[in-house]
Amino acid sequence: MYVSVKGGEQAIANAHAWLAERRRGDAEQPEITAAQIAEQLGLAVDRVMAEGACLDRDLAALALKQARGDGTEAAFLLRAYRNTLPRFGYTAPLDTGAMQVQRRVSATYKDLPGGQVLGPSFDYTHRLLDVALAGQNGEPPPAPLAEAGVEPMPRVTGMLAQEGLMARDTASDAEPPDLTREGLRFPANRALALQAMARGDEGFLLALGYSTQRGYGNSHPFVGEIRMGAVPVEFTPPELGFAIDIGDVVVTECQMVNQFAGNAETPPQFTRGYGLVPGQNERKAMAMSLVDRALRAKELGEELTAPAQDAEFVLYHCDNVESTGFVEHLKLPHYVDFQSELEKLRGIRARWAADRGETP
């Protein structure tokens, strides 16, 4: 229970002014622009777009600037802004097979059709701090170019499926549930879980994904494929009644291949976990695919033993805007609640003392 408390207005206004001053930092330093953030802190922007559940680089960059670099606060700002916009409709499902690939690696096949393309990745760096980057560094030399072929890049999971060794995801055109319209309801189907995880907190999913590898859940994963690049978006405006291409979005997709022991009806085969996140974010796409597979335990008739297999635990707690709201609300005035707790405790203490013949 909350009571309205007046009298903080001036204090709040002054706190906002101090916040603005802190946001600006030392005035001797040039002020950073949202465009600089969008260009030069692109992966932070990608994470804010994912957790803010809204793809718009410029807005996410602005949110990061306003939030002084606090990613969760920035995601909150983006969600709040998004709620002011009308929904035009739903796009056709993104065809990640039609991606203009910037990066594509597989840990299961060395020589897969289309090959391994490393792309702009940290993976092969030595993780040594580059002191030269501390100041303004000038332009880096242009990335080398090579003559590109036209070899297609089929999905690895499709290759396994052709051999009958991979459980197929049944392609249906059933209307998927929408978290933004109906909220979480259990039992949640896989479509709802994927939507919740796509906007979920990267750290939470990472920890859960890691837990499945350490024995909390029966998991033997291989990265079948990770791909990152631009995918065209197809949308049918109600005004037109036919589909048009409305631009590209960059996404990262992870197909995690897992063993499945089989059962009476199904022979032993591979199953997959799936991760799809906006922008370049392999860590989250991989974590999401591990947790997606763990959440499928029930559907596949596996024993449920670990937190990552518990849909209510995972989906209720993966949203960092919700989590932060409930955790941080504890600092709001609870004066009346606490007063009642205090009185209750004093009463109990008095009885406790009286029972022992003491005078309180």
């Binding site: 929904r87 499902p93 072929g149 995801d169 059933a174 933004t180 409305i246």
Partner: protein, 136 residues
């Protein structure tokens, strides 16, 4: 439309300068910004799911007998309105050929070149494995 959706308002204006002037248009709706819900498929090819929203801007205009529409990702109202006007003008027989030549074809060429450059950068990071075969 795929070409107009990927061209900035500045790029559209720049190329329109090389074409005969567009007739005046009337706004029927927009330009206004909202959201489209992007969808994916589980496993890339399975059941559809709602991924998350993206900002989009739409505009519908009339130009004489022609109606033009644009929905483009992002929040650029000028881009959406210009794209809708060009969409309408492309339906007018007198304007179609000059607009294709002055606007659509150069934009398409520039977009193809940008895609080709990305592909060539990616190609340069392709791994060519050398496998050591043990000789017995």
């Amino acid at each position: 439309m795929s070409i107009l959706a990927r061209a900035s308002a500045d790029a559209l204006r720049e190329h329109l300068a090389d074409a005969p002037p567009l007739p005046a248009h009337t706004r029927l709706k927009g330009p206004d910004t909202g959201l489209v819900m992007l969808r994916g498929r589980a496993g890339g090819d399975g059941t559809p799911f709602n991924l998350m929203e993206a900002t989009a801007t739409r505009c519908t205009v009339s130009m004489g007998q022609a109606m033009g529409h644009a929905t483009v990702l992002g929040r650029d109202a000028a881009q959406a309105e210009l794209a809708a006007a060009i969409d309408a003008a492309l339906q007018l027989p007198d304007l179609r050929a000059p607009l294709l030549a002055a606007v659509i074809e150069p934009l398409a060429a520039a977009q193809d070149a940008a895609r080709a450059e990305t592909a060539r950068k990616a190609e340069a990071t392709r791994v060519n494995f050398f496998t050591m075969v043990a000789m017995r």
